[in-house]
């Protein structure tokens, strides 16, 4: 038996950290499979395989050792985050294209893990939503999900078994329903939100999945793998911005609760803005970064043209990270708190 110096913590390897991040996603994934069906698992599998192949090919091209970098599992984390943000019934090639962009362009072309200024999963998502808006609407209805065989058939061949309505594969998400409902006019938010699709907290089914992400995030925080500042600031930003709009005109804007439990808000707050590479790294910077991601998410969601806005908000704030970090550097212990240039 070897004796360890118990006061020295074992350094966390990248793969150990990534493994815990993947584990933290499991509750949300389980709930998502429960409500959305097997399509979620297919997306995860397609994204993982594509990510590993793309990562291996790019590492080889770049002339760096392939196996150690593949084993760090960072490509799988990117693939899972992307797959979970994508619609569960999206065509197979859609997730493949998005993952290729995430790994090849957003991650490896910038120099691989640790060098990417933009969150790769969000780049992949942005490419997909900008290029294929129609296919990105393939959110099945959690109220009447297709059976597993029909989901597989739709994902791989874009056909449906006889008797299924197209509405079962591209039912509008609560965010879409609210946006189009408000554009049509005539009804205010409280009337629109009365439908079954909105559940107790604004998103039937989706609200449980969101709580799954929250549970995973809390565990990661307890494990000291993510700081509290970024997730909390992101949620606070969402609540503050949507709350301000809601208080000003409750007939036109949905409540903060609706924004918290819809789209990718909680997934982003727990797993995406906490990316240690593309996010801010100083304590105050994390508050600014997260808060502005939250504010921008609501603003782009409410006033923009796309259904969800998390990806755009994160990418815009990624650009600002070097600037934020420069002005929020904490003073080194022992130095006088002078002004930094």
């Amino acid at each position: 038996m070897t004796l360890h110096a118990t006061h020295i913590a074992k350094p966390a390897t990248v793969s150990a950290v990534m493994l815990k991040v993947l584990a933290a996603m499991l509750p949300g994934i389980a709930l998502s499979v429960h409500f959305n069906g097997i399509g979620v698992l297919v997306q995860l599998l397609l994204a993982s395989v594509t990510a590993l192949l793309a990562e291996a090919a790019m590492l080889r091209l770049r002339g760096v050792p392939v196996t150690p970098f593949l084993k760090d599992l960072s490509a799988i984390v990117t693939a899972w985050l992307l797959a979970l943000a994508m619609p569960p019934l999206g065509a197979w090639w859609l997730i493949v294209v998005a993952t290729l962009f995430a790994i090849v362009v957003a991650k490896q072309l910038y120099g691989g893990l640790g060098n990417n200024p933009f969150n790769p999963a969000m780049v992949g998502f942005a490419v997909a939503i900008i290029s294929f808006p129609a296919q990105m609407a393939a959110w099945g209805s959690p109220l009447a999900p297709l059976d597993a065989a029909a989901q597989l058939q739709w994902i791989f061949s874009h056909t449906l078994p006889a008797g299924s309505a197209l509405d079962a594969v591209s039912s509008a998400t609560p965010l879409d329903l609210l946006k189009t409902g408000l554009l049509q006019g005539g009804r205010d938010v409280s009337q629109l939100l009365a439908g079954d699709r909105f559940g107790q907290l604004g998103n039937a089914g989706g609200e449980w999945i969101a709580l799954g992400w929250l549970a995973g995030g809390l565990w990661l925080w307890q494990q000291k793998l993510i700081p509290w500042q970024t997730p909390l600031a992101t949620l606070a930003g969402v609540v503050a911005m949507s709350g301000a709009l809601w208080l000003a005109a409750p007939a036109h804007y949905a409540s903060p609760l609706f924004h918290l439990f819809n789209g990718a808000t909680l997934l982003a707050a727990m797993f995406i803005v906490t990316d240690p590479v593309s996010g801010s790294t100083t304590p105050r910077g994390r508050l600014i970064f997260g808060g502005l991601v939250g504010v921008l998410t609501v603003l782009i969601r409410v006033f923009g043209g796309f259904p969800d806005a998390v990806a755009f908000a994160v990418l815009i704030m990624n650009i600002a990270v070097p600037f934020i970090d420069q002005y929020t550097q904490p003073t080194v212990f022992g130095h006088k708190g002078g002004r930094r240039a």
Partner: protein
């Protein structure tokens, strides 16, 4: 003669305006969403660079040094107006597509840069050749980028060739993908930036390979030692 080869090589490859000098990128990025637009803008720019090179070099000894830039811009603007009117008259449909980017050739950095850096210091024939080669170098990049984006974005090549070549152009269009294929990103501005980045990377790759081959040929012994 050697000097002429040097000028040609600089314009087409070594100092390529689109891939190395990165001058005049606004029209390159904006107009390269298909081959025909890219070709038309490239040729219009080439015409202007060649003519402005000639004109600037022929008056360079008469122009007071202090106010040379305003005078060069007047010359270039006059030439661009000629091109603009000619395209409006003879290639009207294409003219409507290219729109503001034809008059904007006046402010294109590459035209001004060659007038200032080359034409104002060299003989008329050399300046004319330099303008022509720089224009052709830019046209090459535009065509490559246009082909890349059109192929990735719509799966066609030379769509709308009739605007440039008349009725015969209809037969030149290549459809290389199913009719409903579309990859919007390639056609939108991000596609232009990504495509140009890939082209620059490709050029650097070719240059690096060339240098490696040259180094091996010049000194095979050291190369063999350094790579056991």
């Amino acid at each position: 003669m050697n000097n002429w080869q040097e000028i040609s090589r600089n314009g087409l490859w070594r100092q390529n305006p689109g891939l190395v000098q990165l001058l005049g990128l606004c029209p390159v990025l904006a107009i390269s969403n298909n081959v025909v637009n890219a070709l038309a803008l490239g040729l219009a720019t080439t015409l202007v660079t060649a003519l402005s090179g000639t004109a600037v070099a022929s008056v360079r000894n008469l122009v007071p040094n202090e106010i040379r830039n305003p005078i060069f811009i007047m010359i270039i603007a006059g030439l661009v107006t000629c091109v603009d009117l000619a395209m409006n008259a003879w290639l009207h449909e294409l003219y409507l597509v290219l729109g503001i980017f034809i008059p904007l050739i006046t402010t294109n950095c590459i035209v001004m840069a060659r007038a200032e850096a080359f034409a104002s210091r060299n003989s008329v024939t050399e300046a004319a050749l330099d303008g022509l080669m720089m224009g052709l170098g830019l046209t090459g990049v535009l065509i490559a980028l246009g082909a890349l984006r059109e192929l990735a974005g719509k799966g066609t090549l030379l769509a709308g060739a009739d605007k440039l070549f008349g009725e015969a152009g209809h037969a030149m269009v290549l459809h290389l993908a199913p009719a409903n294929y579309q990859f919007l990103l390639a056609l939108l501005p991000p596609g232009a930036f990504l495509g140009l980045g890939l082209l620059i990377a490709g050029k650097n790759l070719l240059d690096a390979r060339q240098r490696r081959i040259a180094a091996t040929a010049a000194n095979p012994a050291t190369h063999a030692v350094s790579q056991p």
